[in-house]
Each structure stands twice: as structure tokens, then as C-alpha cells.
Subunit: 261 residues, 2 copies
DNA sequence: CGTTCGATTGAGGAAGATCAATTAATGTGG
DNA sequence: CCACATTAATTGATCTTCCTCAATCGAACG
């Protein structure tokens, strides 16, 4: 179909970092994808009539152990996915934005494996999994959309792991902000301003850092003018130049391993 | 369907750690699941006639950027999933055992997002994604099996992230061995002996540690008789008591955060 | 207006990385 | 089959990063 050199720089590997450099191609891809999902979402609404639910910050969409019936699509708002262990460890394992699906981990089990908690007012659509399956005959695209959403989630999770495993604290935070802005951009929103609807502790938890480390990293980023805080409240972050943020990650990496390799 | 207290200790959250404690229920679940997959796998072979391929250690099954056509099922052997970034970082983001599916990350893209490299002789079955989709009318169970495999992968990835984010080095290595043994157990193999077909550097990469830290952790585990090395070669690990390993993880955790909570 | 919660910043300490030396296993060519 | 080269693993010493603990500050809320 499409033979590319199988190298790291292949366009088929749009790592978060590369994405902002290959701006044009990337944006076109995003546009295309958004259009596709917009169509499919409309179809989905018509066909399956999802149960819509308004949520506010703190509302629980589902909890680990709840019986699995439905997948959810986040129509607006922000949701965190939290995993708990019996020994009391708690881990934010994912953040969901508009258009993201929730609850995939329930398919292979009796119930969901994590809690999904809204971090902002928003709307989620509940879609019965069995209804989705049985719609395949009429609308095969619904199922391929599902697959693509699951596939994307797997890719994202791997990037999280990579970030946590390979980046020092500052770069991890910078990369986090970059990813977030990128996510907004992919949804047609402005990428130069983020409202972090989570505490430093939650960010730290997600990134495998303490809240102090997150705070220090943010301060450093502000000092180096990679970001700035919007007046009143330190949860509103301005990012004048996304590419500069990506470069910051690279520099933090270069400092550690001597510029090359 | 099934109303459980939505607490951490819900049976629907079989974290790797809990699993060895809830031995009986867990094993039954595994048996059932293996039986189910065995049936479905047979059906899959009959219906889709997957292309079978023998691989040897080092063989590449697919590479990041390769055009996506097929999903793969690993019939035997061991495969690592490796992600590369343009800046030269390399990360082992997954290990695949018998029965695992490979290549989900390709569904939502033009090509695969990672390399899949065999670490041992084995056999992989290539299944054309379009063929799989179009089989739904005749054999819906094939597609639900696909979903379950993807769902399980998402759950596993989250556990990896959790391990990396919340466990200290020693516990991370112990947990890694525990998970591995558990994986073998779930496939009906003995859980008291593991042949690590990877170097310390690869293990470290997967766990976000240096090879030295992995080596030290293994030495410590051996010193405390949680594991022992089989004569000739330090890649053969005996695990006399899986539960003891899980306890080791707990102790390492308790030491850090004062026994309770 | 005080209380509470979150964020910032500093000082000290600990876990793990880095650097370096040694040993063990594996492979190669004579 | 053995000497040699090569790669992997171990172990120790030192150094860095990040965590922990603590104090202060700011915002939000009742």
C-alpha cells in the first residue's frame, strides 16, 4: 500500500513530540479524523440513542467493580481514570477529553477495572455494548470506530509509559502540558491556553512524581518562559509556543545524554 | 446484575498482587477463559485460516511504520513490543506471551506504532483485519474475542503504568517476576520457574530502571530467598513461593509508607 | 475574617543513576 | 579443544535527582 523507510522518523509514528513539527500533515490528519468521527458520532446518536448524562466535577461515571453494560463517549468535559489496588495505592492511569471513549477495560471482565471521575462539568453518552455489537449488520462503521478508539487508547497508554520511563521530571511535566495542548488542538480548540482542572498532586500522581516536583517543574517552565500563569489562579496555563515546549523536552533529554543519540 | 461494594477489595479488580491470594476463584476464571479462547482460537483457525509463521529470537514480526494489514496471535514464544521516538529514546512497552494478540495499535493509524520482535523461537498467526471484520456475520464470537483481547491489553498497560509509578525499584522487579509467573500460570504452565529471555538492560528498560538496579534487585531477592538462580546462567529464575513474592512487594511498600494505608 | 485547601519554596536525605572495575558466560578462530 | 574476544551480569563508590519534611503564602469558602 505504502512503503516507507522503517525508521524512527517515519510519518506513521506521530509521537507527541514530532507532531508539532510536522504541523501541516498532522493537522490535516486531525481534521480528517475529526470529520470522520463527527459523521460516525452522528450516526451513533441516531442509531443507538445513547443515554446522555450531565456530570459535574467529582461525579463518578462508573466505579471499579460496577457491572459492565455500557461504554461511554465523553461529549464534553474532562474525566480522569483512576485505578486502586487492595494495598491502597491509587493511580491516575488516564485522562479523557471530548470524543474519547471510556470503559474499554470492562469488556474483558465482569466489571470495570477503574473509576471514571469527572473533573469538570460535561456530558457523557452511555452506549450499551450489546446494542453496539448488534448494530454491526446495519452500520459496520460503528464497530470500526470502536476499534479505532480502542487502538488509539492503547497507543496513548504506551506513550504515557514511555514518558514516565524515559523522561526526567521537568521534561515529563513539559511533555504533559504539550500533550494536553495537542489534545485540545486535535479537537479544534486553542492550544495556547490550558485550564488544568486537576491539582498538582493529581498531575504528579499521573506522571509518577510528587506534587512538589510538579510545582517546581512548572515554576521552572515559567522561569524559562515556556509557559506563564494567567492572572488569578495557578491552574490556568498559557503556552505561547508549543514547539518551544517540545524543544524544552529535547533539551532536558540532551542534557542527560550528551546531545546526540 | 451484580452489586458489589465499590471498594478497593472488590473481586472485580484482580490486580496482579491480589490474584495470587484469591487463588481458587482466580484459577477457575482462568480455566474458563482459557477454554473459551481455545474454542474461539480453533474457530478462528478454521474460519480465517491465518498465515502461520515461525520466528526465532531477534526476528521482527512487524516494524513501526509498516502498513497495517494484519493482527497477529502469538501461538508460542515470547515477543517484545518496542517503541522508538525520533529523538532516539527506546522503550519496551509490552511483552507478549502465548495467546496474546499483537498489532492493535495499527488499527487507528496507517501503520503499526511499534516494533514487535521475537525473543524466542515461536509461532505467530497473521490474521487479516478486514477478513476478521467481515467474518462477523457468520461468527460474531470472533469479534467479541478481539474486543476482549484489546480490553485486556488496555488493562495490562494500566497495570504497567501503575507499577512504574507507584513501586520502588526492588518491588518493581519483584512484581515483574510475579506478573510473568502469573502469566505462565494463566496459560497452564508452571509458575515456579521462569526463563527470562531478555537481558537486564531490557528488563530495566521495561520497568524504567537501569540494568544495574535490576541486577541489584535480583540479587537482593535471591539473598532474601524470594527467588534463586538455576545453576548455569542467571536468566533461569526459580520462584519457590509466588505469594511470598507478592508479600515482598507489600513489604517494600509498607516500609515506604508506614505499614498502613 | 478566619479556616481550609492548594501551591510554592527551601533544606536535608534517600533511592536510584552513573561511572568503573571485576567476574561470568558465550562465541570464534586457530 | 583451548586461548581469546565479546557480551552480559555483578558489585562497589560516588553523584544526581527527586522525595520528604517543613514553613510560608495565596485563594477560595463559609
Amino acid at each position: 500500500m505504502f512503503a516507507l523507510p522503517q525508521t524512527v522518523s517515519s510519518p506513521a509514528i506521530p509521537s507527541a513530540l514530532r507532531a508539532s513539527r510536522t504541523g501541516l500533515a498532522e493537522n490535516l490528519a486531525c481534521q480528517a479524523q475529526r470529520a470522520a468521527t463527527a459523521d460516525t458520532l452522528q450516526l451513533l446518536v441516531q442509531t443507538l440513542q445513547p443515554q446522555k448524562r450531565l456530570v459535574r466535577a467529582g461525579d463518578v461515571i462508573y466505579r471499579a467493580g460496577d457491572a459492565f453494560d455500557c461504554l461511554y463517549i465523553l461529549n464534553s468535559g474532562l474525566v480522569k481514570i483512576v485505578k486502586l489496588t487492595s494495598d491502597g495505592r491509587e493511580q491516575v492511569v488516564g485522562l479523557k477529553f471530548r470524543g474519547d471513549w471510556l470503559g474499554f477495560d470492562g469488556i474483558a471482565r465482569v466489571g470495570y477495572g477503574c473509576d471514571a471521575v469527572a473533573m469538570d462539568t460535561g456530558e457523557v453518552w452511555a452506549i450499551r455494548y450489546d446494542a453496539l455489537l448488534s448494530s454491526y449488520g446495519r452500520h459496520p462503521s460503528l464497530l470500526t470506530t470502536l476499534h479505532e478508539a480502542m487502538s488509539r487508547e492503547i497507543s496513548r497508554d504506551r506513550e504515557s509509559l514511555m514518558s514516565v520511563c524515559t523522561l526526567p521530571a521537568d521534561a515529563r511535566v513539559a511533555n504533559f502540558l504539550h500533550d494536553w495542548a495537542q489534545s485540545l488542538g486535535a479537537r479544534g480548540l486553542r492550544t495556547d491556553q490550558i485550564t488544568l482542572r486537576m491539582t498538582r498532586a493529581e498531575i504528579g500522581n499521573y506522571l509518577g512524581l510528587t506534587l512538589e516536583s510538579v510545582s517546581r517543574a512548572l515554576s521552572k517552565l515559567a522561569r524559562e518562559e515556556m509557559i506563564s500563569f494567567v492572572e488569578k489562579g495557578r491552574r490556568e496555563v498559557r503556552i505561547p509556543d508549543l514547539d518551544a515546549l517540545a524543544d524544552f523536552v529535547q533539551r532536558a533529554l540532551g542534557a542527560e545524554r550528551g546531545v546526540l543519540q
